[in-house]
């Protein structure tokens, strides 16, 4: 069976920590930082569980600020 693997890159300083990507991710890849903040003081989103990403792009689709780039590869 081909294996689908994904990865995300989040524009940290564009992120407003709204949490919508975290809620949208079906694989619990994302979480808001609990301590660190970005240049405007938001607890930004990060891929805390990157191996679980399937590259479905749900996070990027719901992100109101266009912060997320999603990559996907299909390994045969």
């Amino acid at each position: 069976m081909p294996k689908i693997t994904g990865a995300v890159e989040i524009d940290r300083d564009r992120c407003k920590g709204c949490d919508l990507c975290v809620v949208a991710c079906p694989c619990s890849v994302l979480a808001l930082e609990t301590h660190d903040v970005n240049n405007r003081g938001y607890h930004y989103a990060a891929d805390v569980n990157p191996e679980a990403c399937i590259g479905c792009a749900a996070c990027a689709t719901v992100c109101p600020d266009g912060c997320i780039t999603v990559y996907r590869v299909v390994e045969k």
Binding site: V23, V62, Y71
Partner: protein, 258 residues
């Protein structure tokens, strides 16, 4: 494969559209305006309409849309976007002309312009962000505010005997001969966002084909005005707004079905 091996340009499946520029949008965290801006940028890009698109921005939180989507824009007086768009499209029929308006703009101060532009069947697309409140000015009641909904000017909830009923304007516009496509969408899940994008695409195409006025209402959240987190605002919207404003096509006289 490690995430670093996957992160190559050829593997990109989603990213910010190029037309949505580097400026950080002033919207509150989680605001539906951001998602819809992204969709408008994506659709214009996919249609290759960067150089023919002219947006008409409202008064409301989206007043500075021109700072974010890199196409030509005109800023209209409060509620007058459909009147301005009428002139722009009549003088430049080859352009893709759309308005982008909130519910206070479109369904309160601009009701007359909205209804008459739609009734004349102007070949414009109207993107209508219905968050049930005046966002920009601090969360006052709008005509679209739900019965019982708490706002800055209805601290005990909207009362029908005092404030009247919520105004459900899209079905009214659908009754007019001039509209060819009236649809209601939302952007709270990835699936909903994809459907909303299709609707915006169809509205823009209708405008270019000269089929009449298209209206895409997006049932939206205003987490600041509603005093909820963005995720809770989405839940509240599903629970309460969708009952008054059910999503789906209201009218489609074109052959293209969504």
């Amino acid at each position: 494969m490690t995430p670093e091996q996957i992160k190559k340009p050829e593997n990109v499946v989603a990213q910010r559209p190029a037309l949505l520029n580097d400026n950080t949008m002033h919207y509150c965290p989680g605001c539906s305006h951001g998602v819809v801006h992204k969709l408008v940028a994506e659709v214009i890009e996919e249609m290759g309409a960067e150089h023919i698109a002219i947006g008409v921005a409202p008064v409301g939180c989206a007043v500075m849309a021109y700072n974010y989507i890199d196409v030509d824009w005109i800023e209209a007086a409060h509620g007058r976007a459909p009147a301005v768009a009428t002139a722009v499209k009549r003088l430049n029929p080859s352009r893709l002309v759309f308005t982008y308006q909130g519910d206070g703009d479109l369904a309160a101060i601009g009701t007359a312009e909205t209804i008459h532009a739609a009734n004349r069947g102007e070949n414009i697309a109207i993107i209508f962000i219905n968050n049930g409140i005046y966002g920009m000015t601090g969360g006052q009641m709008a005509p679209t505010t739900l019965e019982g909904m708490v706002t800055a000017t209805t601290p005990y909830g909207r009362r029908v005997d005092l404030n009247g009923h919520h105004l459900n304007i899209s079905p009214l516009l659908a009754q007019l001969e001039g509209t060819c496509y009236v649809t209601r969408q939302s952007v709270h899940t990835a699936a909903a966002v994809r459907k909303a994008k299709k609707a915006i695409r169809q509205a823009f195409e209708n405008s270019m084909k000269g089929l009449g006025t298209s209206v895409v209402e997006i049932v939206s959240t205003c987490s600041s005005g509603w005093k909820l987190t963005p995720a809770k605002a989405n839940d509240w919207m599903v629970e309460h707004m969708f009952e008054a404003y059910p999503v789906g096509d209201i009218k489609n006289t074109t052959t293209q079905k969504s």
